[in-house]
């Protein structure tokens, strides 16, 4: 568990239902958010984190309604600012288990700056970025992740803004943990969420989420049974990269260039071995789909990158401790007086 490693022995595992609040869930029927909620609840239960130690902070958007549905502490704040709110919370509360829930609009459009600053600072928390490539709550405008040429209410002639590649951007901002999951691949999502929660630092999890009302099927090639295996690749640390309906395709690195190969044609030893700690390889992985040369590459899922770096709050506390040792913490009267006081009698 994220904040108290020894915790899980503390009690019996809570059933995930006990993490559900008494509020009626108000997403559209069929929305991918339901599945994500379920997996999060189940991970909280598996990790056996006491409800009262959990805080969910969100911005504004469909996804950002998330905290209402968990019987933990939570704040549904304002658009784009959840990372900053959570940073302030974490700065004084090392003991809590903190989650940020955001969307592609909330986290990358209005909130992009807070997100990249959070990543470089590396406050320990889990950021779940629900990427549905659309603004759901405001009813269907394009977002910073909508593919080029997307036609919708605000892009009548098609978008011309190159979308962000969120995980690539995160690497540019020196993220220590980046991962990707799918709303309707519960097993993988739970695994990724657990890893994120165990990471000590900011973990950014991009979750592809279907908005069945305004952007239905955006990820269907990645989720439909028929196409999924050929179009996704699940990464595992120190395991070779292979994929495909019959698990018969692999990826090798030819210099800097990844290439797809048939397993029948190369030995498994020649395949690219996933190394979570290699940021350059992670960079190549993030580019599997926005580099035109890499057309046809499977979408990497799982943990792309994970390294350790001191968290902001640990360093902050270190400084605080040092300051207390040096300066004490008692009545600040002496501080106030300073050296140049005088007395009037």
């Amino acid at each position: 568990m994220k904040t108290r490693p020894g915790q899980s022995t503390k009690g019996v595992s809570s059933p995930s239902k006990s993490y559900a609040s008494n509020q009626e869930i108000r997403w559209c029927p069929g929305c991918g958010d339901y599945s994500i909620l379920k997996q999060v609840q189940s991970v909280l239960a598996d990790e056996n984190i006491p409800k009262e130690e959990i805080v969910f902070i969100s911005g504004i958007g469909c996804s950002s309604r998330f905290p209402y549905y968990l019987d933990t502490f939570g704040m549904h704040s304002i658009h784009g600012r959840a990372p900053a709110i959570a940073s302030g919370l974490r700065a004084i509360r090392k003991d809590l288990n903190i989650w940020v829930v955001t969307g592609d609009g909330d986290g990358l459009s209005i909130g992009g700056n807070h997100l990249i600053h959070l990543l470089r600072r590396n406050f320990n928390m889990n950021v779940l970025l629900f990427n549905n490539e659309i603004y759901g709550l405001t009813k269907g405008q394009y977002s910073p992740t909508s593919p080029l040429g997307t036609v919708n209410k605000t892009a009548v002639w098609g978008t011309i803004d190159l979308p962000f590649n969120p995980l690539k951007l995160a690497l540019g901002a020196d993220a220590t943990f980046i991962a990707r999951g799918l709303d309707i691949d519960p097993l993988l999502l739970r695994q990724v969420l657990k890893r994120a929660n165990q990471h000590n630092g900011t973990s950014l999890v991009e979750i592809y989420q279907n908005c069945n009302v305004f952007n239905d099927g955006a990820f269907s090639v990645l989720t439909d049974k028929a196409t999924k295996k050929d179009n996704t690749i699940v990464l595992e640390h120190q395991k070779p990269l292979f994929f495909g309906v019959n698990n018969d395709m692999g990826i090798i690195l030819d210099g800097f260039s990844p290439r797809i190969v048939k397993l029948s044609e190369v030995s498994e030893n020649d395949l690219w071995i996933h190394d979570e700690e290699d940021s350059l390889k992670a960079t190549i992985l993030t580019r599997f789909f926005d580099n035109p040369e890499n057309d046809g590459f499977p979408r990497p899922l799982g943990v792309l990158y994970a390294v350790n770096r001191p968290t902001y709050e640990d360093q902050l506390r270190g400084q605080k401790k040092m300051a207390i040792e040096q300066l004490g913490q008692g009545n600040p009267y002496e501080l106030f007086k300073g050296k140049n006081y005088w007395e009037v009698k």
Binding site: K51, M75, F336
Partner: protein, 618 residues
């Protein structure tokens, strides 16, 4: 031979003026600290150029430090100077108009060569220090300060640049002599400051003493001047700048409440000094330099949600950026302290100059109905009390509170009767308890008699709850679109803030009569000027009173009654008329405005003239 006569004076205004590289701020604050040590009451007004390092000798590069010290109560840094120290021609030019006739003018004649004259836009044939007509108005001390300094340090092994940088110490030493004050406070200061640079330390000491001795030696003045200690109330005092006092007030809040205080800020002039001060005291509080003002205020909100106290500060443009988030804090009913060290606007305006033009923004500058308490400091020392009171209100009434200071207060200093934090008023923290649980469910918006809600902090088992910016059901805090509930919540939040009037002191007449022709009503940093002006007018027999608002929202309960005791209400403000709008609206009073929007504080005389105009036109 030494001078034995010493003239006794009640009050002295002295201005040190020179290039921003001349160390005038240091000189001024050293003289100030020494005056404080001697027990004088005092008020300071540092005035820097907008540029970081303006080129030497230019008019816009003049840096000044004004000090008013006395044996009687001092309210302002003074309108005019008794003593002016001018390190160069530009410093003389920009300041001479405020030197009192008969005042003392100390001139560094080395700052008046052709180059300096040209930069100061003097015709070189009209060198002011050779202008007998001009000089005859003052007592003149012409000294070749630069030359004498160089001479003193010719064997120091220092370069000319470093040598010249210590010429301010000559001026300081000389002025110490003039006012019969010892140099030892400054010597101690120098020792500490340059503990790692012994050569520089020695040079400074030497020049300081050289200046002092020069006074003795040349018998430059017929007599030195004596200003005795002021009859302040009993207590331990120190001199404090407004921004420092705010920082200490925040530390006091942390100490007294035991809450983790998170001060989250983003640099901006003139508010940044608070962060500079607090960053030193990580033993008491946590500071966080955020990526922008929005991140700063929201981080503070996050800390308050976590059971800490979030504090943030900025100046005009930065406060504008925070307004959306402040609205969230109002809707959440979350303790939060927001400080606005106002500066001259609009937009970037004149960032290093003072103004009071964000009062209406503090009142109304958010979307929707978002009432919050507004307090304003009236002196550097008062900043300590105000911030402490603001924190107390924020916590006890579960509300964001806005504190207004300004550049003049933030950078200026005054003696502060240091308070023992242990003796400060207790703060009652409305933590949630079992009484707030109904049918097994915690009610985050169940209100107490103050209409304040309980504060349930993450980690507290059984008190899990979710809050947000959407309209909330009273008591449960659940999202609600019920029309009547929404109106109820709007009214409750308004009422909660209005009710604070019951918890704050009544407003008192600070000077003059309790009933009469004119009430001068002020707020914020104008306190000193208004106080002095009204005191003078009252001394002259005018039927005039003075009241000053520290609580601007809600107003003290007796304000309306006080207003009704006078024929006229005069509201002087360093803006284009803001408090006056609120007073007119609230009390249906046809008040008279007096507005200055020049980046400068009022002078006492401006106020006196206005008062006389009003009485004349009656």
């Amino acid at each position: 031979m030494s001078i034995n006569t010493s003239e006794l004076r009640e009050n002295i205004v002295i201005k040190f003026a020179g290039d921003s590289g001349d160390g005038m701020q240091l000189t001024g604050s050293q003289f100030t600290e020494t005056a404080a040590k001697y027990g004088n009451d005092l008020a300071t007004f540092p005035d820097f150029p907008a540029e970081i390092r303006a080129p030497q000798g230019t008019l816009y590069g003049v840096s000044g430090f004004q000090l008013h010290f006395g044996s009687t109560r001092v309210h302002t840094p003074g309108d005019e100077y008794d003593v002016l120290v001018a390190m160069n021609a530009a410093a003389l030019k920009t300041n001479i108009k405020n030197l009192k006739p008969g005042g003392t003018l100390i001139i560094n004649i080395d700052g008046f060569d052709d180059k300096f004259l040209r930069l100061a836009k003097y015709d070189k044939l009209d060198n002011p220090i050779e202008d007998e007509k001009l000089l005859s108005n003052y007592t003149i001390h012409k000294i070749a300060i630069t030359q004498l300094t160089r001479k003193a340090l010719e064997d120091s092994g220092l370069g000319i640049k470093e040598i010249d940088r210590s010429k301010n110490m000559f001026a300081l030493g000389y002025v110490y002599w003039l006012f019969n004050r010892k140099t030892d406070f400054t010597e101690n200061y120098l020792e500490e400051k340059f503990s790692k640079k012994p050569k520089i330390f020695e040079a400074n000491i030497k020049v300081l003493r050289t200046g002092y001795n020069y006074g003795i030696t040349v018998e430059a003045a017929s007599s030195t001047t004596e200003v005795q200690a002021a009859a302040l109330d009993k207590g331990i005092y120190r001199n404090i700048r407004g921004n420092e006092a705010l920082a200490y007030g925040i530390i006091a809040l942390a100490y007294k409440t035991g809450l983790d205080v998170l001060y989250a800020g983003y640099p901006i002039t003139p508010a940044t000094d608070i962060l500079h001060e607090l960053a030193k005291h990580k033993n008491y509080i946590t500071t966080f330099q955020a990526e922008d003002e929005i991140a700063a205020v929201t981080a503070a909100i996050g800390a308050s949600f976590g059971g800490g106290l979030g504090v943030t500060a900025s100046s005009g443009p930065g406060i504008a950026l925070k307004t959306e988030a402040i609205g969230l804090a109002v809707a959440l009913e979350m303790p939060l302290v927001i400080i606005n060290v106002q500066r001259a606007g609009p937009s970037t305006g004149m960032p290093t100059k003072t103004e009071q033009s964000d009062l209406l923004q503090a009142y109304y500058g958010r979307n929707g109905e978002t009432p919050l308490p507004v307090l304003a400091c009236n002196s550097p020392a008062d900043s300590f009390d105000i911030i402490y009171e603001a924190g107390k209100i924020a916590i006890e009434h579960m509300t964001p509170v806005m504190v207004l200071s300004d550049g003049y207060l933030g950078n200026g200093s005054s003696p502060w009767s240091i308070q023992d934090p242990d003796l400060l008023p207790e703060i009652d923290i409305p933590f949630a308890n079992q009484d707030h649980i109904k049918d097994g469910k915690f009610m985050p918006y169940l209100r107490d008699e103050r209409l304040s809600r309980p504060w349930a902090v993450p980690g507290k088992k059984g008190f899990e709850h979710r809050i947000g910016g959407l309209s909330k059901e009273n008591e449960t805090g659940d999202v609600s679109y019920d029309p009547e509930n929404n109106q109820l919540m709007v009214e409750l939040r308004e009422q909660k803030v209005e009710n604070i009037a019951e918890f704050i002191p009544e407003i008192k007449i600070k000077a003059g009569v309790e009933k009469g022709d004119i009430l001068v009503l002020g707020w914020g940093s104008t306190y000193g000027a208004l106080m002095s002006a009204v005191t003078d007018c009252h001394d002259q027999g005018l039927k005039i009173g003075f009241a000053h608002l520290r609580y601007l929202r809600p107003f003290p309960g007796n304000l309306e009654k006080v207003l009704s005791q006078y024929q006229n209400i005069l509201i002087p403000e360093l803006n284009n008329g803001q408090l006056i709008k609120i007073i007119r609206e609230k009390f249906n009073v046809d008040a008279i405005g007096m507005n200055k929007v020049q980046g400068l504080p009022f002078t006492k005389n401006e106020i006196i003239n206005k008062i006389q105009d009003i009485l004349k036109s009656e």
